[in-house]
């Protein structure tokens, strides 16, 4: 993020300690490969259990790349392999042109990691947490102090700098973890379920900060099982299910490819639900999904479909015409909903 030469393909972070030369600065250059992470047939096994089952993907500099999938899809295992804290069981993985097993420390020096669970030292103050972490990277104390003040401003925690971490809210701890992950001026920021467990308001604050980082050109890799998070933040994503990649593309791409322009959602009285489902099936639609509580019709024109529903003598309790989302893509690809896991 702090390249003195300011080359076009790494234009990150003018707002955050841009005056400093981070580990990224010394190696970046115009000849640097555009691909930061390359995985081919990557596999992770724990005993007999296959957590990641031969996935292939590439991460380009400057993009926000997401792994979308339910719990247990293999997202975190993938992230841990990228973070060089979990040796792959098979396949190939190259990160920043290096081998994660042989060059783990050198790669980790250039990554920022926001783990799924908070790993803050809750007995220390906000500032001390950044000091400890910065020292892990071997940064001089003066550099850490300087970056700490700009990073705490960035995550809106400057006023809490001297406070102990323990009593901070979940959202504040998350933001502190994000600040901590940026202390080494990383080239790639890894975020594993960055807003899981936060209340909606705290989530939006985190999203806002991540969106700013993205706009500054920081390369983001994130996992999520929230489709709105993926839609808002990811330029490109893969849908993961049971250790495999089910589809890859931009959110818009995926919706165009795997869903229809509109979705008609119908809700009937519980007693009528099954009967209604049979009748709805006669209506011409691209696809119909009967969920436990709703019936979804995938169509190009929701209002026309609604008229057709009335035409066969059905009157739902509620109906809603909406755009397709990644949730619909996931349902189409796996037959399950994201939160079902």
């Amino acid at each position: 993020m702090a390249c003195p030469s300011g080359q076009a393909n790494h234009p990150a972070g003018p707002d955050i300690h841009s005056e400093l030369t981070g580990p990224a600065g010394s190696v970046a250059g115009v000849s640097e490969p555009e691909i930061l992470i390359r995985a081919h047939d990557l596999t992770k096994r724990f005993g007999d259990f296959v957590a990641v089952d031969g996935i292939s993907f590439e991460l380009r500099r400057g993009e926000a790349f997401g792994f979308l999938g339910p719990n247990g899809a293999g997202k975190s295992s993938t992230m841990r392999m990228i973070g060089c804290v979990s040796p792959p069981s098979g396949g190939e993985l190259t990160i920043l042109g290096m081998d994660p097993v042989a060059d783990g420390p050198a790669i980790r020096a250039r990554l920022g990691v926001v783990p799924q669970e908070d790993t803050l030292d809750v007995e220390l103050t906000v500032r001390e947490n950044l000091l400890v972490y910065g020292r892990y990277f071997g940064l001089p104390r003066a550099v850490i102090a300087e970056r700490t003040s700009s990073l705490l401003d960035f995550v809106q925690l400057a006023e809490r700098a001297g406070d102990q971490v323990e009593p901070l809210s979940g959202g504040m701890k998350r933001r502190l973890t994000i600040a901590r992950s940026l202390i080494n001026d990383p080239e790639i920021l890894l975020l594993d379920e960055p807003t899981t467990g936060l209340d909606p308001q705290a989530r939006h604050v985190v999203w806002d900060r991540l969106f700013r980082l993205k706009q500054q050109g920081v390369t983001l890799v994130l996992t999520t099982h929230y489709m709105d998070e993926a839609e808002q933040l990811c330029d490109r994503l893969v849908v993961m299910d049971r250790g495999r990649i089910a589809a890859e593309g931009s959110p818009r791409d995926l919706i165009e490819r795997y869903s229809t322009r509109e979705v008609l959602e119908l809700r009937f009285a519980v007693s009528d639900h099954e009967l209604a489902a049979d009748k709805v099936a006669q209506i011409p639609a691209n696809r119909t999904e009967v969920l436990a509580d709703r019936i979804l019709l995938y169509v190009d024109n929701g209002d026309a479909a609604m008229a057709a529903v009335r035409g066969v003598g059905l009157e739902p309790i509620t109906s809603l015409v909406r755009r397709s989302t990644l949730e619909d893509v996931f349902l189409r690809l796996t037959g399950r909903r994201l939160e079902d896991g």
Binding site: S86, P105, R108, A109, P115, D121, V122, L124, V132, Y136
Partner: protein
Amino acid sequence: MAVRALESWLINYRRTWRGSIYSSVLNPVLYLGAMGLALGKLVDQHATTNLGGVSYLAFLAPGLMAASAMQTGVDESLYPVYTAVKWQKTYMAAAATPLRPGDIYRGHILFTLLRLTMNMTIFLAIMAAFGAIKSALAVACLPVAVLTGLSFATPLDAFAVTQQKTDQAFALIFRFGMIPLFLFSGTFFPISQLPAWIRPVAYATPLWHGVALCRALSLGTADVTGALGHIGYLLVIVALGLIAGQRTYRRRLHV
């Protein structure tokens, strides 16, 4: 790199060092006062040939010093490590940085080494204040006691990081490991008082080697062969612990 991991322990210790100093001072004062002076008075009224003709205080103090090193070594290795790997997960945070698991392990061992050096320096000074030292060689009790503490810290630290679900094993270590060692490794009475069949068990424990050598140094009866034997034994255990820790930390932090 291990020094970077050490720093995190030091930054934490800045908050608690005062309290820890109180107990480092109080502990030897209470033990040497109650057992060395008060109980010693009773012991000294009888013939003390079994103690080698010295006062009970002079006999007890170096043994207690070695036992206190064990205590520090165990205390620093079990719950702090479990907290770092399980409750706070600060080890997981460290593992995401350039630090390797072995660096994280050795950083904590370095911190334990510092704590041992602090506590043992205080202990030795209090021993001197009690007039419990008979020889200038007692200065060498400091490194010997620190080594004794490390012989518990390196393997137990390596073990603590492997505990996944509960810390129940630690209570067992205290109850069936530390307390018997404390009582039966020659700290309070010579091993010769024990039944012959159990003595080899005492000889096998690192604490006995620490107690025997600290005592010989403090009383001025140490000989080179014996000293090298004790030191060699303790060094082997420390080395085995270091090898184990390198492995157990990697297995736990790089899954």
